[in-house]
Structures are given as C-alpha cells and as structure tokens.
C-alpha cells in the first residue's frame, strides 16, 4: 500500500512541476523578446506594396488591438495560463488569425508519428543489439555493429541527416528528400498513401535512428554485462535453463527496466533532434513549425510550440512512468 501510491504521487508532482516551471519559464523568456509582433506583421504586409505612410500608422493601431498585447506583464501571464489550460495560444502572428493551437495540432501528428516510429526502432534495435553484444561478448558481427553505432552516436543529427540526404537524394536519388507525403495524394488508409508516408519518412527516421541508437546500445551493453553476473542469472545458468531463455527472461527483461526510465528521460533530447531533422527534410512537423516561427519572428507561435513540446514531453514521460509499474512488479506491488 505504501510504495505504489507514493510512487504515483511523486510522479504526478514531478509532472506538474515540469509543466509549471517549463511554461512559466518560456513565457517570461519570450516576453523579453525584442521582436515586436505588430511591426513584424506590418513589415510582412508592406514589404512589397506601395503603402502610404499614413495608412501604415492606422494599420499599426488596428493590429495592436487585434493581437491582444495589452495589459501588464503579470496580467498577460495570468491570461496566458488561462489560455494554456484551455489549449489556446491565441492567434499566430505570422499566420493571423489562425490559432497557434490549430497550427500545432496539424503539425503534431507528423512529429508524433515520426518520433514514435524512430524511437521504437531506435530503442528496440539499440537495446537488442546492446543486449546481444553484452551477452555474447565475443561475436564479431556484434562487435562490428557495435563499433559502427558507437561511432555514429556523438555525431550531431544535422550532419548525419545531411550526409543521408546527399547520398539518397542526390548521388543516388532513390528517396524523396522533402515533405511528408507525395503531392496530390489524399490522406487516408490507402496503400499508396501509406507507402508514400514510409518513403518520405524513411530518411528523417533513419537520421534519428542512426543518431539515437548508439546511446541505447552502449547503456544496454553495460547493463547486460553487469546483470549477467547477478545471482539470479548465474543461478539460472546453474539450473540448466536454456541460454535463449536466460537471455530473454533473466537478462534482457531486467535490463530493460532502467532502459525504460532512460527512455522517459531521453524524450526531451530526442525531440531536439527531431526539430533539426524536420527542418532539414522539410518535414511538416512541430520542429519545422518552431524554426519557421523563429525565422518569421512569430513569438506566439514560438511560445506555443515550446510550451506544447514541454507539455508533450512531460505527458509522454508521465505515460512511461505509469507504464513502468506494470512491468516492474517491485514498484507496482510495493
């Protein structure tokens, strides 16, 4: 009775704290911005047309009213919390009057899809290879693949992505290098659409996988090489349990638990890699939206995306925290 409720309470507290600090932090950081949204959109609007200076003045007043920038910082902060709770980040300044939230919502499935796929592949493959390499320490093939993934691990996502783009988009143009799906293909569960999604997702996902797999490999290998000397594994070996079973049920399974916690902790940095990759491959996700927001000086968008990514990462971490007890009976049953 003691363990699980306490665990849950702690996780819940952490969850709210992450959101509270993250959201407050980003709000106040953004408010220090030298970017004036009204001037920004004004310069967008007047950039290419002959505009009477007097007319610009009128437009400026109208926009300031429309963008809802009145009130003291504190009032804006309170209002902002109200908005976050309602999931309303106000209208995008560079895409006025489309709500920031609807921009995020239309980009989010792409990012979630790409990240989930890449994370599952990365985590599974990295842990599998790492566990095998930790368990069968002398296998040459495993050593070799270990060397490759470990060498790739510290290289920034941008560079890996750039190299892949050049190789598969330019030198051997076999894969699309831009966008999320083929043009003029209606989204749906058709075979063509899914294949197109896979084609467009391959290079971005591969980038994330290649960059991410190394750290899982390294940590899993070291976890496994520790666990194989644990009593219960040695005992199972003495008990004549088959080595396949020992590997899967006695070694890998136990090593996966800390890796699951690691998965939760890594989500924040994985999202960072996705931002760069999406930008590079022009993938229509939240990361590209964020960088566009920065290039366009759209601070409500930047604020919205940052806040949403903090919330999304916190939620994902929380979900993993909730799943964890299901897998680890020590936490579930106290």
């Amino acid at each position: 009775m003691d363990g699980f409720p306490k665990y849950l309470l702690r996780r819940l507290l952490q969850f709210f704290l992450v959101i509270f600090l993250g959201v407050s932090g980003t709000f106040f950081i953004t408010k220090l911005s030298p970017v004036d949204p009204v001037e920004q959109s004004l310069s967008l609007m007047t950039n290419f047309g002959a505009t009477d200076p007097r007319a610009v003045e009128l437009m400026r007043q109208a926009l300031a009213e429309l963008y809802g920038l009145q009130g003291s910082i504190f009032e804006q902060y309170l209002a902002f919390w109200g908005r976050v709770l309602r999931g309303d980040f106000g209208p995008s300044l560079s895409s006025f009057p489309t709500p920031v939230m609807s921009l995020i919502m239309s980009a989010l499935p792409w990012t979630v899809g790409l990240l989930t796929l890449a994370l599952i592949i990365t985590w599974t493959l990295g842990n599998l290879l790492g566990a095998l390499a930790g368990y069968y320490r002398t296998n040459t093939l495993l050593k070799l693949s270990g060397a490759v993934v470990m060498a790739l691990h510290p290289v920034p996502a941008y560079i890996v992505g750039l190299v892949l783009l050049l190789v598969f988009g330019f030198i051997f143009p076999v894969l699309p290098i831009s966008g999320g799906a083929q043009m003029n293909l209606q989204p749906g569960l058709s075979l063509d659409y899914i294949r197109s999604l896979i084609q467009h997702g391959t290079l971005p996902a591969l980038t994330l996988v290649l960059v991410g797999i190394g750290s899982w490999f390294i940590s899993m290998r070291s976890l496994v090489s520790n666990i194989v000397t644990d009593d219960h594994v040695v005992y199972a070996e003495l008990g004549g349990v088959s080595s396949g079973k020992i590997f899967s049920q006695y070694v890998a399974r136990n090593a996966l638990l800390p890796q699951l916690t690691g998965l939760a902790l890594s989500l924040g940095s994985v999202f960072g890699g996705a931002v760069i990759t999406e930008f590079l491959y022009n993938y229509p996700g939240v990361g590209r939206l964020l960088i566009q927001g920065i290039y366009r000086g759209d601070y409500s968008l930047v604020l919205g995306v940052t806040t949403m990514s903090i919330v999304a990462v916190a939620v994902a971490v929380f979900i993993i925290d909730l799943i964890y007890p299901l897998i680890d009976p020590r936490v579930r049953l106290g």
Partner: protein, 638 residues
C-alpha cells in the same frame, strides 16, 4: 539467427520503399500538363483569404493565379508595353484636381463559380475594407476614399477625400495590389477578417484543385471557362499549362537537386553557385534570364548601404562619401554575386524602364560629376566598371562574356564609383576625423566603428556583401562588424535600431518611370524621433528640404506626364550629391527554369513577364508557356 532475420526485414522494408523514382511525381496528374513552381511553406494551409492578414503565404499561387484587379505593370517592361489593363477597360481617368477617379470595367468576366464580375464587387471591396480595420487595404482606403459608387455595372467612380494623382496605384499590380473581393461570397460571411475563404473563388484563369493541409503544396488547375477572365480573353489559344503546382521544395540545395531531377520547373531564388551548377550540369534542360553568365534576373529593388541619419556618425555627407570611395565595388560584386551583379551608381534600380529613362541619359552627368575632398576636386565616377568585372569573370565564363560595352552594361550595370582611398581619407579629414595609426577617430576622439546590419538567411547575397564591405572598411581603419538581424531585420530598420545596414529602401515600378512608389514616403513629414517607428521606405531617415520640394511637385503632376522623369532626375542628382545611402546594385535573383516540360520562359531578350514566381505578374508567364514537344510522355499523350 535473430540478426539475420533483422537484416532480412530491413531489406524487405527497403525494397518496398525503393520504387519511389518510378512513380508519378504527382499522384493522378500528368507531369507534362503541370508546371511545378517553388512555393512558400504555408503554416496555415487552410487560409485563402487574401484580404485579411493571413500568414504571408498568399504567394503560393493564390495571388498569382486567382486574384485580379484593374491594372498590371510589368516590372521588367518599358514604355507602354509595360502597362496592362486587366479588369479595367482603360487607364485611370482623373478629374482635373485629382479628387475623382473613374474606372471603366471590362465586360464578360465571371468568377469561377459562374457569377458575373461587376462594379458592385469593386464597391463592396472598398466599403468592406473601410468598415473592417485590420483588413489589408483598409487603411489606405480609409484615408483616401470619401465614397465609391457604381454608376453602372461596368463603371466605378471613386470620390477622394483630398487630391491624389497616384490613387490608382493602389489597384496597380507590381508585386500585388488591392485585389477585388467576390461580393457574393463575402456578404454571406459574419466576419471577413476571420473567414478562411476556403476554397477560394477565382477571378483569374486558374482555380484551386487541391492543397496539402501540411502546407507544402497547392495545386491549381485551368478553369474550364478560362476565356471569361481578363487574362483569358486576350489569349489566342488555350494555355498549355493545365495545372500549376506551387510546392515548397526545401532549402536551396534541395531546390537545385529537385530541378535537376525535373521535379521543379521554376525556382524563385538560389545562391549564384547553385545557379552555376545547374548551368554546368543541366545546361541543355534549363533556361535563364540571360542565356549565359550572369544568368540573374534583377528585381526592381536597390540593395544599398543604409546609414542611419539620426546617428551622429553619419550626418556629414563627406563621411558618407568617404565610405563610398573606400569600397572596391568589384570585390563586392564578386563576393556577393560572383560578379553577376547589376551595379547601380544612381539611387534607382537599374532595371526595366529606369535604364532608358535614367541611366542612359544621365551617363554624361555622372562622368562629369565632381566632389570637393577638401584638398582637391575629383571626378569619382568610373564608367568602365562593367568592363573590369567582365575581365575578372572572363577566365571562368569565356564566350558568355561579350565585348560590346552596351551589352556589358546590360549585364553588369553602367558604372560605379572608383575606389579612391586617398580621396576618402581627405574627405574624412575634411569632416574633422583624425587618423591614429590605422584607426580613424571621430571628431570627439572616440574610434570610428560601424555595426553593419544584414538580414542573413533569407537574403544571403546581401549578407555576403555585408561581410566584404565590413572587411574593406576595417582594412582602412574603420572597424566594422556584421550583425545578423534575421527576422528582426525589418523591425530594427523601422525602429532605427541600427547604425548602418545592407538593405533596400528604394523600390520602383520597374516598368514605369514614376518614382512615387517609394519617394512619397521620403517626405520629411513622416520622419519620426529616434526610437519611434519610421513608416516603410525612408528607413535611413534622410531629411532634405530640396527632397521635400521634389516630392511635393511630383504629387501635382499626372502619373504619365513627361515631367515625372524630370523630377526623377532631380531626385537622382540630389541623391548622388548627398550620398544619403550608398546604392550598390539591383537585387539580382537566380531563378533558373527547367525546359524539359515547358518552354518560352521570360528572359532579358523577351521580358514579357516578371520571372520571380512569387510576383503576381507571373500569371502572364504561366499562360504563355508552351509544352515542350520533346518532353517525356509528350508523344504518348498526343
């Protein structure tokens, strides 16, 4: 075992993904009926309301292919040919004191949903925008229009609040202009500011076919009743281009790759090196503004070194002139554009009609122009700069570079100021500066340093120019650092939050000598205090009584009056004398075309349309292109 299985699975996935190249590039649309154009990345892809501020993605084909208004000016054109009556049946007709403008409309023009376009649409457009502050043309209409009426279904009369000889320019498209709204659509809408207008009803030859909700592409298709539009009724035959695809093709490298893969017919802008690559590797399948080097198409904008006149460092014209004379323009041209720059000594872009109206007539005046350095008098103009740059690039481009000075002038500009360090030093001394070692000191004894602001990523050639200018000034004892302002560039320019910047404050019609397009805003009435936001154009906050006099006089003469050119020359001479900013060159854009599927693109030889596909004038290019009979699949289709 497990490892083998994994490898097999990976191979299977790879195999299912590989046939990418074999598929149609666009699902369900024949490639040889589609023109693929580089488009913007739209954030709010569902937004098609051109009249409310909606995200700046209206150049995804919306303004080019579905919108229409009274008149178009071809920014590359000269003389009468540059002017097109679109919805209007004739040129603007003013009364004597410019308080009333009458516009006769063409008949037989229909919206794409079958409703006829009439004067009521125009009246609705003006009145709705006046009633809704925040709409894109609300402010200028509110200031100018007292009333607007449809005297009959094909005639509109504007009654102005005060005389304005340039009121018609609100409806004259260069990049865009006040587009006409579909009254029958918007009058059913509660709030025209938040109405997405999706799908948009078209007043031009194309209508929306489909779009990507992720904002990466929009496909437009030729209207079946394309003849019932202002652009269609002038055509001799049905346009070959049945579909226009505006797609966001990624970064400049991706654009080049995609064009070489024949997946992108029209590029808006890439770096010069990308252009050279296309010319080198895909020369037989591509076309450019110039058939060879320098390839680029000059926009009617004038990148310059802007000085903040409210900063005490730059208030002395001798200092500004000294900085100009320290510049080796050849290095700037080489560094920013690899020599492919169209240099400008005058404060007007050397494009379109400005060449014949201003540059050619004023060569003599420029050559004889003299300045007093305090120690002596020099004639700084060097008319041979084009030949010098030609000599620099000849080793690389060989036969692309002609010998004829007139042709060279068209490619590289007419001339610029000769680098003259000695004269520059004399000017600085004249202005009270002193040199201490290799460091110039201001009259108050502090070091003369400059922070030079550039935009950066979006306008890379000017960032490149900025770094060279900074190096040249630094070498002469004026420490210059480059600030990359990014998206705050516009705002900082507006607020006067800069010392010097590489940007443009001069834009012209291109196809018309009238300079009011930018000059109107240069009047000292609009100059604000330091820190306050300066309305667009006169970002350097240059103030001069002689300038005000020119502007005031220009207001009283009609748009097409010959006096316009005379006043323009007065302004240009004043700008040379004062050097309020240092004009560098036209804003050259490298916009290569793929000729695999389409031919007949505009060029310097046949400048029937702007070549930048974001400009609304592009619509004339789209309807004039011809299908390449040798295109893959062309025979099969016939």
């Amino acid at each position: 075992m497990l490892i083998k299985k994994l490898a097999a699975a990976a191979l299977a996935i790879a195999a299912s993904v590989m046939p990418a190249a074999a598929q149609d590039f666009i699902a369900g649309i024949p490639r040889n009926e589609a023109l693929i154009i580089q488009g913007p990345a739209a954030q709010n892809a569902e937004w098609f309301n051109l009249w409310a501020p909606g995200g700046g993605a209206s150049n995804n084909g919306l303004q080019q292919l579905t919108a229409d208004t009274f008149w178009f000016v071809n920014p590359e054109g000269t003389g009468d040919a540059a002017w097109t009556n679109a919805l209007a049946a004739d040129r603007p007709q003013y009364n004597d004191d410019f308080t009333e403008m009458t516009v006769p409309l063409k008949q037989g023009i229909y919206w794409s949903d079958g409703v006829e376009f009439t004067a009521e649409d125009v009246v609705y457009t003006v009145e709705t925008q006046i009633a809704n502050p925040g709409m894109n043309w609300s402010a200028p209409f509110t200031i100018n229009v007292d009333s607007v009426e449809a005297t009959d279904p094909y005639t509109v009369v504007f009654n102005l609040k005060e005389p304005n000889s340039r009121f018609h320019t609100l409806f004259t498209v260069r990049w865009n202009a006040a587009w006409i709204m579909p009254k029958h659509v918007f009058e059913t809408v509660d709030d025209p500011l938040t109405y997405a207008n999706n799908p948009p009803v078209s007043l031009s030859a194309y209508e929306m076919h489909s779009y990507d909700s992720a904002g990466n592409w929009v496909i437009w298709k030729l209207r079946e009743d394309w003849e019932r539009t202002s652009i269609g009724m002038d055509l001799e035959s049905e346009p070959d281009v049945k579909y226009v695809v505006y797609r966001n093709a990624g970064n400049p490298d991706a654009r080049v790759i995609e064009q070489m893969n024949h997946n992108l017919d029209v590029i808006n802008d890439i770096a010069p090196e990308g252009m050279f690559t296309i010319a080198r590797d895909a020369g037989e399948n591509s076309a450019y503004w110039f058939p060879g080097y320098p390839f680029a198409h000059p926009d009617p904008t004038l990148p310059s070194v802007l000085f903040n006149h409210q900063n005490s460092k730059f208030q002395d014209k001798d200092v500004r002139w000294a900085l100009a004379l320290m510049i080796d323009i050849r290095a700037v041209a080489m560094g920013s554009y690899r020599g492919a720059a169209n240099l400008a000594a005058l404060s007007v872009p050397p494009t379109g009609t400005a060449v014949v109206d201003y540059y050619e007539p004023m060569q003599e005046w420029l050559t004889s122009f003299e300045i007093d350095t305090g120690a002596r008098t020099i004639a700084p103009y060097d008319p041979t700069v084009a030949q010098q740059i030609a000599a620099l690039v000849k080793p690389q481009w060989g036969d692309d570079i002609p010998d004829d000075p007139a042709q060279l002038a068209a490619m590289f500009g007419h001339g610029w100021w000769k680098q003259d360090i000695e004269a520059a030093n004399e000017l600085l001394e004249k202005a009270g500066l002193t040199k201490n070692g290799n460091q110039w000191l201001l009259p108050d004894g502090t070091p003369f340093t400059i922070r030079l602001m550039v935009e950066g990523d979006a306008i890379p050639t000017l960032a490149r120019a900025g770094t060279i200018l900074a190096q040249q000034w630094s070498m002469q004892g004026i420490q210059t650092t480059v600030d990359v302002a990014g998206p705050t560039n516009g705002q900082r320019l507006g607020a006067g939050d800069f010392e010097a910047a590489v940007y443009w404050t001069v834009e012209t019609w291109g196809g018309h000598p009238d300079l009011s397009f930018f000059l109107e805003s240069y009047h000292s009435d609009f100059i604000v205090e330091p820190g306050a936001v300066q309305p667009p154009r006169n970002l350097q906050r240059w103030q001069d009584e002689r300038l005000d006099a020119i502007i005031e006089e220009n207001r009283t003469v009609s748009f097409d009056s010959p006096e316009v050119v005379q006043l323009g020359m007065d302004y240009l001479k004043l700008a040379v004398e004062e050097m309020p900013f240092i004009p560098l060159m036209a804003y050259n854009k490298f916009a290569p075309f793929d000729t695999t599927y389409w031919t007949g693109y505009p060029s310097a030889e046949n400048p029937y349309s702007a070549s930048g596909p974001f400009w609304s004038n592009t619509r004339y290019m789209v309807v004039n292109l011809e299908a390449n009979p040798n295109a893959p699949g062309a025979q099969a289709a016939q």
